[in-house]
């Protein structure tokens, strides 16, 4: 796969302070994207302070080093930096995309947010206030509410907590508690800095060393995800559509079976020609949106299913959704597998054309699998799956009973309120 004229080389290096640096050259691009992945999220929020990762992630972006919040933001924007990032269940990220020539200017502004955040008292209240507003805004976002409720019923322990936090958790936060949390959770050991774009490794490494070598500290290990028993639950909501969500465990990201599993899931829901779209939307016209998606936490994989439909069609929609998942265990046809394979491989190549997608994949590979895969490795693993091994795998691993959570104006027959 001639994606990278450099031979698809990925540089993987650890600084003395423990920060892991990953870089993939894309020398034809004028742009460079970076993702700094920090191993703190709602899963490791202190009990009673749910939402602290989200507030902390905001607070560290409100001034660093010699620059107050406004000056720091202006400095990044004067370099034309497009910022991204969010606080999730296991990780918080800081993203930046910019013209590659600005690397030396941009990196110190990124590193200062984690190595010397000001955590000014005056910026604490607005950071918390914004988190409270975002939590309250979920009331008008039924799909987001559904997934938060679904994961709370599916995952036990910290991973089941929503990154949005809770009203009491946010109210209980204090600047002192959050500063202590920053010391406990933000450090280079366990963090990953991934870069992709138009630069060469020597220049990248030198710039990274200059910007990040002075950062020190530890972070918390990620907890193992634990499951609750399969469950069915309905959330009453005054909405036009009933939201249907389901979740069940899947192979972990580093499990060699994950390629076979992913191809099977592609047959189920990888495209508009896949089984779910065909059976639920094309043949029956039950929904606009339906799908099943593989998701991963550190050392743990799971599958989410989703459909949104008007209440009078919700029971039938859930039945068809569950029946198609059961039918997948009976195996796939050879031509279905071939289409899934072609789709998977072209998607990998095409996502590789975007610097931010590339940097994101490097970081998530390192986090979830412990090591970064080249495109050649992915291709070879995907090509190795034949219809017999896939069908043997599916027969030997029937899909577990899903946790089903629905949200809407009336409970489904099979899902008690």
């Amino acid at each position: 796969m001639a994606l990278n004229p450099d031979g698809g080389r990925i540089f993987d290096h650890r600084l003395d302070n423990g920060l892991r640096v990953l870089f993939e050259p894309m020398p034809w691009l004028p742009t460079l994207s970076t993702t700094l992945m920090l191993p703190f999220g709602s899963a490791t929020d202190p009990t009673g302070l749910e939402g602290s990762a989200t507030v902390l992630h905001d607070w560290i972006q409100r001034g660093a080093g010699a620059l107050d919040s406004r000056a720091h933001s202006d400095a990044l924007e004067a370099l034309g930096v497009r910022r991204g990032g969010s606080a999730g269940r296991e990780t918080a990220s800081l993203g930046a995309s910019f013209l590659a020539d600005e690397l030396d200017q941009v990196l110190p502004l990124v590193s200062s947010m984690v190595s010397e955040p000001r955590l000014d008292e005056a910026e604490f209240a607005p950071a918390r206030e914004l988190a409270e507003e975002e939590l309250r805004s979920l009331a008008d976002a039924p799909t987001q509410r559904l997934f938060d409720a679904l994961l709370a019923h599916f995952l036990d322990g910290g991973a089941g907590r929503s990154p949005y936090g809770t009203e009491p958790g946010l109210a209980a936060l204090t600047p002192e508690a959050l500063r202590a949390d920053a010391v406990r959770r933000i450090g280079p050991r366990g963090a990953i800095l991934a870069l992709a774009g138009g630069a060469d490794w020597d220049a990248v490494l030198a710039a990274v060393e200059r910007a990040f070598a002075g950062w020190s500290g530890d972070s918390l290990p990620l907890p193992e995800a634990r499951l609750r028993p399969a469950d069915r639950h309905h959330v009453m909501a005054d909405s036009a559509q009933t939201q249907i969500g389901l979740a069940f465990p899947a192979p972990a990201p580093a499990d060699p079976d994950v390629y076979a599993y992913d191809l099977a899931l592609h047959v189920l829901s990888g495209s508009m020609g896949a089984r779910l779209f065909t059976e639920v939307r094309e043949k029956r016209g039950l929904v606009y949106s339906v799908g099943a998606y593989y998701r991963a936490l550190h050392g743990f994989g799971y599958t989410l299913g989703y459909a949104g439909t008007t209440p009078e069609r919700a029971d039938e929609t859930l039945q068809v959704l569950l029946a198609e998942i059961r039918r997948l265990s009976e195996g796939v046809e050879a031509d279905e597998l071939e289409r899934a394979r072609v789709g998977t491989l072209s998607a990998v190549v095409m996502q590789g054309e975007s610097s931010s997608a590339r940097a994101g994949r490097l970081a998530s590979d390192a986090l979830l699998r412990g090591r970064v895969r080249t495109l050649a490795e992915i291709r070879s693993a995907v090509e190795k799956v034949d219809v017999h091994t896939l069908n043997d795998y599916l027969a030997a691993h029937p899909f577990p009973d899903p946790t089903v959570v629905t949200l809407g104006p009336k409970p489904l027959v099979e899902v008690a309120a």
Binding site: T31, G80, D101, E129, S346
Partner: protein, 427 residues
């Protein structure tokens, strides 16, 4: 460090164009560094080209183009896209309907065959009846998204009879009442070869593209298509829709802006960025940074013949009066305290980065390539657009503000409880 910018200098790109005998324009932007290629049909038709009795037909028709042709069933179309490993989709706006896909280069002829065949759909009654349910589900889905619904409510009022106020989805009633024959008549009026642009971006063989397109569209009949471009008389003031099922107040903001062919669209985009970008803008600092609103932004939408500044705001109901007042004040006061050189340059540079990033992938590049060619009738490279943005001066921004567009601000609120201070709409 290597100057990557030199590697991807304009020499790496080439623009191609051909007009076929039936009137179809085919354009391409070749990029020798691309590993994939994107192709798509841009149809100059959308909600603004619909009569009231067929509201939503452009978007419903977009769905129907995936439901089969004389040569293919709906299942055949979906399977063909899958066999090509295509990333593909379609969208409909007030302005246009676009069908596109991205594939590895050797599969481009097959992708063009599929997309071209789709442009002459069978529109079978049984497919129409099933797909109508899907459209009604899509309408119900957006009913649950007040951040979307508020624009349906506000756009119609702001545009005040101008067709840009038409709803892309249409209403549940207009969709239920729509007949296949009405859709067919609309199709036969709008999908002329001269009203379509076939665009490709990325790694392709131009001679092969032209020959393929010629072969596939040879039977297409030429006819004339017109679009009405009435002068808008936009409303200003403030109106409200009460919905007690909601927990937040959602606000759509509009002000008069510039047309897509107006050179001042660049300073307008920079100005909107200064005022309402999602980071570092005046609205961000006044409302989001302080936690008064979870969202408060502004953009500029340049359309065929006219344009508008368009913004969104969401906050707690009890704060809505204060937040609305701040939102309004930031925009109105900018007219007397216009951006300084540093503010302007930050916005220019952010926009330039965004434009460059979007062009990294052929699929990202295709959409702006096709839309800008169709609107302007000429090619613009990414570098052309970046130069136009970087060449727009702060004085250009001041000139726009001197026309005081935000004195004519229109706000529509959607939320629970009695409406905040109501100002009657006017034109």
């Amino acid at each position: 460090m290597s100057r990557a910018g030199d590697v991807a200098a304009p020499a790496a790109l080439r623009f191609d164009r051909a007009v076929l005998a039936n009137g179809l324009t085919v354009i391409g932007e070749f990029n020798r560094y691309a590993v994939s290629v994107a192709g798509g049909y841009f149809v100059r038709t959308g909600a603004r080209d619909e009569a009231d009795e067929v509201a939503g037909v452009s978007h419903f028709l977009e769905h129907m183009l995936f439901k089969g042709t004389d040569r293919r069933t709906a299942a055949d179309i979906n399977r063909s896209f899958d066999e090509l490993g295509a990333q593909y989709n379609a969208f409909t706006s007030e302005e246009r309907t676009v069908y596109y896909g991205a594939v590895l280069p050797e599969r481009l002829p097959a992708l063009l065959d599929l997309l071209s065949d789709m442009m002459r759909p069978a529109l079978r009654q049984e497919d129409f009846d099933v797909e109508k349910n899907v459209i009604l589900e899509e309408i119900a889905m957006y009913e649950d998204r007040p951040n979307f619904r508020v624009f349906e409510l506000a756009g119609r009022r702001f545009w005040n009879g101008h067709p840009l106020g038409n709803s892309v989805l249409g209403g549940a009633d207009s969709i239920r009442a729509l007949k296949r024959e009405q859709m067919l008549a609309y199709f036969e009026r709008r999908y002329a070869p001269s009203n379509l642009t076939l665009a490709v971006a990325g790694n392709y063989d131009w001679d092969e593209v032209v020959a393929t397109a010629e072969g596939l569209t040879r039977g297409w009949q030429a006819f004339d298509v017109e679009r009405e471009l009435p002068l808008p008389q936009p409303a200003h003031g403030q109106t409200a829709t009460q919905d007690d099922a909601l927990k937040r107040v959602h606000v759509a903001a509009y002000a008069p802006g510039l047309a897509a062919a107006d050179e001042r669209r660049y300073p307008a985009a920079i100005l909107a960025n200064v005022l309402g970008d999602d980071s570092g803008s005046r609205l961000f600092w006044a409302l989001v940074d302080r936690g008064l609103a979870d969202s408060a932004g502004l953009g500029h939408e340049a359309s065929d013949g006219t344009g508008a500044f368009v913004g969104y705001l969401s906050c707690a109901p009890e704060r809505a009066p204060e937040v609305l007042e701040v939102y309004r004040r930031v925009l109105v006061e900018a007219q007397d305290a216009p951006p300084d050189a540093q503010e302007w340059e930050r916005a220019q540079r952010k926009l330039a980065t965004s434009l460059t990033l979007r062009a990294e992938t052929p699929l990202g590049r295709l959409v702006s390539l096709g839309a800008s060619y169709q609107t302007l009738g000429r090619y613009q490279s990414v570098q052309d657009v970046v130069s136009a943005v970087m060449g727009s001066t702060v004085a250009d921004g001041h000139a726009l503000l001197a026309e005081r567009p935000f004195d004519r601000l229109y706000l529509h609120t959607l939320g629970p409880g009695a409406a905040p201070e109501e100002r009657s709409p006017s034109s």
